[in-house]
C-alpha cells in the first residue's frame, strides 16, 4: 500500500473512532438506564453492560403506583395547556411584532428577551404570593400559569422570526380585499405557519414537561405532582438505599416519548432552536 493510501485509511479509521466515542458518550447513559431498569433486584448490584434476560418487574411495580400514573397525567395536562396558551398568546403577539411596524416594537421585543433571561428563583416569592391570592396553590393551574414565564418569551421570539419571513404580497392582497387583521392572521398567515407552530409547540412541550423548580414549590400533595418531582421524590427505606431499578424504570418511561419525538422531529427542533438563538 502506498504511503498516501495508508495515511488516508488511517485518517478514516480515526474519524470513525471519534464518531464512535461521540455516540457512546451521548447514548450510553440512557442505554445503561434501560439495562438497569430491566434487571431484577437480585442482580441489580452486579455491573453488566447488556441484558441477557429482560425482567419487567420494575416496570410493573412503577405502573402499579397510582401516584406515578397520576403524575404522568398531570404532566400531560400541564404541558398541553401550556403549549396551547403560549401558542395562542404568542401567535397574536408575533403578528403584531413581525408584520406591523409601530413605535415601541423594539422595546417590547427587548422586554420579551429580558424575561427569557430571568433567573426563575427571582420571581419565586412574588409568584408564590400571586398563586396563593388567586387560590391556585397546589393545582395544575398554578403550573400552567407560571410556566408561561419561560415558554412565552421563547415562542414569541421564534414565531416573530418566522412571521417576518413570510412574503408581504399575501398580506397586501388580503388588505386590498378588505380583510381585517384578525382574518388576515387566521385565514392567510396561519396556514403558512403550521410548520413553525409545530416546532415551537414541541419545544414548549419539552420545556414544560421537564420543569422542576416551580413544580416542586407550587404543588404539595402526591395527587398534584408532575413527573420530574415524582421522580426526584422516589425514595427507599433510608436515604442511602434508593430503589434504583424502580427509579430507572420510571425514568425510562417518562423519557422514551421525548426521545421518540426528538428523533422524529429532529430537523424541526434544530431549526426552532437555532432560529431562537442565532437568527433571533
Amino acid at each position: 500500500m502506498s504511503p498516501r493510501l495508508l495515511k488516508k485509511a488511517l485518517l478514516r479509521l480515526g474519524f470513525w473512532c471519534l464518531i464512535g466515542i461521540l455516540l457512546l458518550y451521548a447514548v450510553f447513559p440512557f442505554y445503561y438506564a434501560i439495562v438497569t431498569s430491566l434487571k431484577p433486584s437480585s442482580t441489580l448490584f452486579e455491573v453488566s453492560y447488556w441484558i441477557d434476560r429482560p425482567d419487567f418487574s420494575n416496570y410493573a411495580a412503577v405502573l402499579h403506583q397510582p401516584s406515578f400514573l397520576k403524575a404522568i397525567g398531570n404532566s400531560l395536562v400541564v404541558a398541553l395547556c401550556v403549549v396551547t396558551l403560549a401558542l395562542f398568546l404568542s401567535l397574536t403577539a408575533a403578528y403584531a411584532l413581525g408584520r406591523v411596524k409601530f413605535r415601541g416594537r423594539g422595546t417590547v421585543l427587548m422586554m420579551v428577551l429580558g424575561v427569557s433571561m430571568f433567573p426563575q428563583v427571582a420571581v419565586l416569592s412574588g409568584l408564590f404570593e400571586v398563586i396563593r391570592a388567586l387560590g391556585l396553590y397546589n393545582t395544575s393551574w398554578a403550573l400552567i400559569l407560571s410556566y408561561t414565564i419561560f415558554t412565552l418569551p421563547f415562542t414569541v421570539w421564534v414565531l416573530t422570526t418566522f412571521m417576518g419571513q413570510l412574503p408581504h404580497e399575501l398580506e397586501e392582497a388580503a388588505i386590498m380585499d378588505g380583510a381585517s387583521p384578525w382574518v388576515t392572521l387566521t385565514r392567510v398567515l396561519l396556514p403558512l405557519l403550521w410548520p413553525a407552530l409545530v416546532t415551537t409547540g414541541l419545544l414548549a412541550f419539552i420545556a414544560a414537561w421537564n420543569e422542576f423548580l416551580f413544580a416542586l414549590t407550587f404543588t404539595l400533595t402526591d395527587t398534584q405532582r408532575t413527573v420530574p418531582v415524582a421522580i426526584a421524590l422516589i425514595s427507599g427505606g433510608s436515604p442511602h438505599e434508593l430503589p434504583w431499578g424502580l427509579l430507572m424504570a420510571a425514568s425510562v418511561l417518562v423519557t422514551v416519548p421525548l426521545v421518540i419525538l426528538v428523533l422524529i422531529f429532529q430537523r424541526r427542533i434544530v431549526s426552532g432552536l437555532t432560529a431562537g438563538a442565532l437568527k433571533g
Binding site: 474519524f15 471519534l18 464518531i19 451521548a26 440512557f30 438506564a33 438497569t36 441489580l44 398568546l89 403577539a93 403578528y95 403584531a96 411584532l97 413581525g98 408584520r99 406591523v100 411596524k101 416594537r105 417590547v108 421585543l109 427587548m110 420579551v112 428577551l113 429580558g114 424575561v115 433571561m117 430571568f118 433567573p119 428563583v121 427571582a122 419565586l124 416569592s125 412574588g126 400571586v130 408561561t148 412571521m163 417576518g164 412574503p167 408581504h168 397586501e172 392572521l185 419539552i206 414537561w209 422542576f212 423548580l213 413527573v227 420530574p228 426526584a232 434504583w244 430507572m248 425514568s251 417518562v254 423519557t255 421525548l258 426528538v262 428523533l263 429532529q266 432552536l273 437555532t274 442565532l278
Partner: protein, 320 residues
Amino acid sequence: MSVSTPHASCDEPLLARETPIQRRRLRAAWLFLTPMLLCLALVAAWPLLRTFWFSLTDANLADTRGATFVGFSNYLFYNGSGWSGILVDPQWWNAVRNTLHFTMVSVGLEIVLGLLVALLLNIKFTGRSLVRALILIPWAIPTIVSAKIWSWMLNDQFGIINHLMLSLGLIDMPLAWTADASLSMWAVIIVDVWKTVPFVTLLMLAALQMLPSDCYEAARVDGIHPLHVFWRVTLPLLMPALLVAAIFRILDSLRVFDVIYVLTSNSSSTMSMSVYARQHLVEFQDVGYGSAASTLLFLVVAVIALLYLYLGRRQLEVRS
C-alpha cells in the same frame, strides 16, 4: 446574528403614509399584543417587583401580608456588636463561589466540546443525519432524570463509572463522586456538560453552515494547512455565534438549580445561589432573607444580560 431583533417585513409601499388602513393595523397590533403583555406582567413583572419589596421586609412564607418594612437589614445590618445579613453570610459567599466555579468550568467545557463535535459533524459522511439526531438525546432527557441516571452511574459502591475505572486501573479505591466534597462539584459539571453539549453543537453547526465557501476554496487552492485555516478563518468567523452560545449558557448556569438539588441536595460544597435562595425561601420559610438572595442573583444576571445587549447593539451598529 447576535441580537439582531427579528425584522418585520413592513416596508410595504402600500402603507407608507398614515392611512385609515394603517391606523387600523396599528390599533390591531396593540390589541394583539395586549394578552401576551398582560400575561407577562402577571407572571414576571409583578412577581419580580414583589420579590424586590419582600427583600426589604421580614416577610414569612406562612403569611406574606403581615410583613413589616425593615430596610436593608436582610442585606446588611449592624446590631450593636457585629454585622449580620446576607452580605456577611459565609454560606452566601460560598454559594456565589460555587456558582461562579460551576459556570466557568462547565461553560468553558461545553463551548470547547460543542465546537469540536460540530466540526466533526460538519464533515459529510453516510449516516450523518442519524448521528446528529442521536446526539440530541441528552438534550431531550429531563434534567431530573439525567441527574438520577448519572447519580446511579456515579454511585460509590455499585456505579459503573467506578467499576470501569477500577478495572482499567485508573483508581485503586472506589470514589464517592456525589458525597466527597472535592469531587461533588465535578459530578455536577459532568452531568451538566453531558446534557448541554448538544445545544452548543447545534448552534455551532448552524453557524458553520452559514460560512462562505469561497474562502475555503481559495485556501485549498493556495495549499494552506487546514489548522491554519481553522485559526485564521473559521474561528474568527464563528466568534459571534460562539459568543451567543456562551452568553446563553452563562445565563443558564448562573441560575442552576435542578441538577444540583437532585445530585447533591443541600450539600454546602455544591450549593448554588438559586439553591441557597430557595432553601431560605421555602425550607426556612424566611421570605425576606430568601428574596434578598434572589434579588442579588437577579442583579448579577441582569448586569451580564445588559452588557450582552449593549455589546450586541454595538456590534450591530458596526456591521451596518
